[in-house]
Amino acid sequence: MSPIHSILGVRRRLLARQQPSVVIWIPATLIGLTAFLPLLYLLIRTVGLGNDAWDILFRTRTLVILGNTAVLTAIVTAASTAIAVPVACSRYGQTFLSDERGQC
């Protein structure tokens, strides 16, 4: 093969690279779809309940659980912030304290 032909060959293949090969995109798409699988089946199952689904969602018990979860999340987030921010600030104070002891 003459040099000019081999260069053309490389260019052609470089252009072909713009399209992913089958070996790449088929598994990638399959993996993307698999990740959706659980959500899809929960949806199917819930829709399959028909009107019962609405009854379940608007029962007092569901609202209690929703409230419980919300309260827990709020408390944990607030308490974590209350612990973490002072600890972070005091730690950065301390580190510099030890670095530049002369100035303190």
Binding site: V10, L14, R17, P20, S21, I24, W25, P27, A28, I31, G32, L33, T34, A35, F36, L37, P38, L39, Y41, L42, I44, R45, T46, G48, L49, D52, A53, I56, L57, V64, I65, L66, N68, T69, V71, L72, T73, I75, V76, T77, A79, S80, T81, I83, A84, V85, P86, V87, A88, C89, S90, Y92, G93, Q94, T95, F96, L97, D99, E100, C104
Partner: protein, 435 residues
């Protein structure tokens, strides 16, 4: 050191709290010996769950806030002081607003962690979504309810994500000019040093020393009672086997997605990548419940096999794996691949001979992380393990539920030991790179 508690899975945290503060726990037996006190305030329910989850998840905020503090320009605080604000006012008006994005990102992580947590809430018997979903699923008449509640939980998680984006708002946090970065001056804490130190001390004791003391205490008691380690041996091998399998498959599965996302950006590849990230917002119990429904209805051959459990792990771990593989992929110059192409190699050969060796370290580190996360995973393991297949995680969980504290402690110590191996490997690699 304070960040170490991130390594402790929530059911070990729950176990520690139950074993220390619960009925028949360490604290109570101590008090009843000393003061004849028979009843402690109830630890089950909201107080216990909130305490456990707070101690486990505050490092998320600590880490984000700390890195934001390091990047902050002290000139802003100095300007505020020079304009006559006191230290306290400066802290509230200048420092805190600058830290707001870091706090809200950390709080989002904590919120998502709390929403999707199953181990702590189930051990401490607090009826939040994950526990109710699990109980509804187990009672098997109510599986439809479990599905509906799972979808509701997903909705709540999405709302949390949107809330975080909303609090961040449209403020700008960068400077209009680059300025000159310099080190922060320390603040002399003076008398305040002692309360500050005491506060940090209490946190460290609760989050670190307490778990170790509790685990050690029950382990020693178990050995005194002549309990052998054999009970935990099979679960440990099972844990290692299934987590290893999940780690390898997840990393392998993330390679095509990463290749697609990095080398062929298009609408389709963007969609594939985003859908692979879905596991990040889905609690483990939701993913595994969906897979249970799928398995029972459409894949009875797969249902009740290890493969099903591994698929659940892969879905849950994929976001982490893609992140790791993608970041090392981005460092591989496409020129390298083009050079191989010009030398007459076919694209697949290039993939195997050039690209994969270059991203090998990134893949290994990713696999180590996946292994750790899979080891600690509880809800999917509980729902999807074949009958009779026990891992360390499920052993700790069921032993704590039945108040077999010694067995739980032994397994918990084994779990921490086994997961510290890849952890040490990862840290060593990190420090080796710096040196």
């Amino acid at each position: 050191m304070t960040a170490l508690s991130l390594v402790v899975p929530s059911y070990i945290g729950g176990f520690v709290i139950v074993a220390a503060l619960g009925p028949r726990g360490m604290f109570q037996s101590l008090l009843s010996k000393l003061f004849n006190i028979e009843h402690l305030p109830e630890i089950y329910g909201l107080p216990g769950a909130a305490l456990t989850l707070t101690l486990l998840s505050y490092p998320y905020i600590l880490l984000t806030v700390r890195s934001a503090l390091w990047g902050m320009d002290p000139a802003l605080e100095e300007a505020s002081r020079s304009l006559g604000y006191s230290r306290w006012a400066t802290f509230w008006k200048v420092t805190i607003p600058q830290l707001r994005p870091a706090i809200s990102v950390g709080a989002l992580l904590v919120g998502l962690y709390t929403l999707s947590d199953f181990g702590a809430v189930s051990l401490l018997r607090f009826d939040s979504f994950t526990r109710v979903i699990y109980l509804a699923y187990q009672s098997s008449f109510d599986r439809g309810i479990a599905a509906a509640l799972s979808l509701l939980l997903v909705l709540v998680a999405l709302m949390l994500l949107m809330l975080e984006a909303w609090t961040r708002g449209r403020s700008r946090y960068y400077r209009s000019d680059s300025g000159s970065p310099r080190a922060l001056r320390p603040i002399a804490l003076g008398v305040w040093r002692w309360p500050a130190l005491a506060f940090c001390g209490v946190v460290v004791i609760l989050a670190l020393a307490l778990p170790m003391a509790v685990l050690g205490y029950w382990m020693v008691r178990g050995m005194q009672a002549g309990q052998s380690l054999d009970l935990a041996w099979t679960p440990m091998m099972n844990s290692i086997y299934v987590s290893g399998l999940a780690a390898v498959i997840t990393v392998a599965a993330s390679v095509p997605v990463a290749v697609l996302a990095v080398r062929y950006p298009s609408r389709l590849s963007g969609f594939v990548e985003r859908s692979a990230y879905i596991g990040f917002a889905l609690p483990g119990i939701v993913v595994s419940l969906g897979l249970v429904f799928f398995g029972v209805r459409y894949a009875p051959l797969l249902y009740q096999t290890l493969m099903m459990l591994v698929i659940a792990y892969v879905i849950l771990l994929l976001p982490q794996a893609i992140g790791a593989v993608k970041s090392s992929f981005l460092q591989v110059s496409p020129r390298m691949e083009e050079a191989a192409l010009s030398l007459g190699r076919r694209p697949m050969q290039i993939m195997v001979r050039v690209t994969l060796p270059l991203i090998r370290t990134g893949m290994l580190a990713g696999a180590g992380l996946m292994f750790l996360t899979a080891m600690k995973e509880l809800p999917a393991t509980l729902l999807l393990s074949p009958i009779g297949f026990k891992t360390l995680a499920t052993t700790i969980w069921s032993a704590t539920e039945e108040a077999f504290f010694t067995r739980a402690a032994t397994s918990a110590i084994l779990l921490v030991l086994v997961s510290s191996v890849p952890m040490a490997f990862l840290t060593l690699r990190e420090s080796g790179r710096k040196g």
